[in-house]
């Protein structure tokens, strides 16, 4: 890797981490999920700053072309992320489901109370 490539790569990953920080600060991203992205940014930074890292890992794992290793790694991270998101989505769906039911049940109680109140009030009026 040329020095220029290393600089561009490092700056790009630093920018990404800065974006994550910014989103967390603005409360647009929960800390819970930011950890994941910050870790990803850190790995990107390491790979960009020290180009030989990929080669070391590749030779340790006996991968002939380091680029393949990188590719497989990126794909795996993507799949794990997608699974993570569907788990989060399923949880949200279950919570939504319960909330929707409770909203309906509460509305029914209010409905009933109002009807009873109206009946009570008209009875009081009749007596007076």
């Amino acid at each position: 890797m040329t020095p220029l490539q290393r600089i561009i790569g490092s700056v790009a990953s630093l920018l990404m981490m800065a974006l994550i920080f910014h989103l967390v600060r603005r409360r647009k991203l929960r800390e819970e999920y930011s950890i994941l992205w910050l870790a990803a940014g850190l790995v990107m930074l390491l790979v960009a700053a020290e180009g030989r890292l990929v080669y070391w890992v590749a030779s340790a794992l006996n991968i002939q072309h380091p680029a393949y290793g990188l590719f497989v790694l990126a794909l795996l991270v993507g799949i794990v992320l997608a699974i993570h998101f569907t788990v989060v989505l399923s949880r949200l769906t279950a919570q939504n489901w319960r909330l929707t039911q409770e909203v309906g049940l509460s509305a029914q109680r209010i409905d009933e109370l109002e009807r009873r109140l109206a009946a009570y009030e008209s009875e009081v009026e009749k007596k007076s």
Binding site: W97, Q101, V103, Q108, D111, E112
Partner: protein, 257 residues
């Protein structure tokens, strides 16, 4: 005879303004002893207004949850109000009020916890299309294997639950194909299940939306539902615990309900 048992009809309704009035009127006249709760499953028509006109308890869900979610909401209501039996009754006119006794009585007698009204236990003139019939028969066979006993009509929505089964159903929710999953998890959790023959009508309004593609999708999703309910253990909840859990939400004193 002791205190009379309280029975609740749970009517899930999604855009059923056409058939709901006739259904409610008939139910009221044939079974005046039965309380009714209409669960409006996020309809965009006048379903809710009709339920109000007929002076039924109305639970309006702000979003569409599907039949399983709607019925479960009705069962929460039954649990909170202390009903002894709750049964599902379709708004589209398929279910007949004169058949209610068939599914409710075994529970009132204490002979069963869950009763399912089957269209096919006896020879009836109820007809379904060929593709649908095939899919239904296959699923029945599979469900029968899963619960280890014969089942003839696992997609029937005409079913009644006793107190304990109501508590179980409110604590364990199944999202997609509740008809099939519910039976399997109930039976596997040790509830006494019974299938009884009932008469049903062809639907009055609305059309069944079964195309071959939909049937295939239905089949795959149902297979998943069977697998999930066989693999995952549902928790058997005690009725008293379920009531405590519900009281968190509904603090109305019991004598006022």
């Amino acid at each position: 005879m002791g205190v009379s048992k309280r029975i609740l009809a749970v009517i899930p309704a999604y855009n059923e303004e056409e058939s709901l009035p006739a259904t409610l009127a008939e139910l009221r006249s044939v079974r005046p002893d039965v309380d009714i709760v209409v669960v409006d499953d996020g309809s965009r028509d006048h379903t809710a207004q009709i339920a109000r006109q007929y002076n039924c308890a109305l639970i309006s869900l702000p979003m569409n949850l599907g039949i399983g979610g709607a019925v479960q909401t009705g069962l929460h209501y039954a649990l909170r109000r202390g009903y002894d039996v709750a049964f599902q009754f379709d708004a589209d006119g398929q279910h007949r009020p004169d058949q209610i006794a068939a599914i409710v009585d075994p529970i009132l007698c204490g002979d069963a916890d869950v009763v399912l009204g089957s269209r096919f236990l006896q020879k009836t003139d109820y007809r379904v299309s060929r593709v649908r019939g095939l899919a239904m028969r296959f699923l029945c066979w599979l469900t029968s294997r899963a619960i280890g006993r014969k089942l003839t009509d696992n997609t029937s929505g005409f079913r009644a639950y006793g107190k304990e089964a109501i508590a179980f159903m409110t604590a364990n929710c199944s999202y997609d194909y509740p008809e099939i999953e519910a039976i399997i998890s109930l039976v596997r959790s040790g509830f006494r299940f019974r299938e009884v023959p009932v008469l049903m009508r062809e639907r009055v309004a609305g059309k069944s939306m079964f195309t071959p593609l939909r049937a295939a999708y239905f089949l795959v999703r149902s297979l998943m539902a069977v697998l999930v309910s066989v693999m995952s253990g549902s928790k058997r909840v005690l009725y008293s615990d379920a009531v405590v859990a519900e009281e968190k939400f509904d603090t109305t004193p019991a004598h006022n309900r």
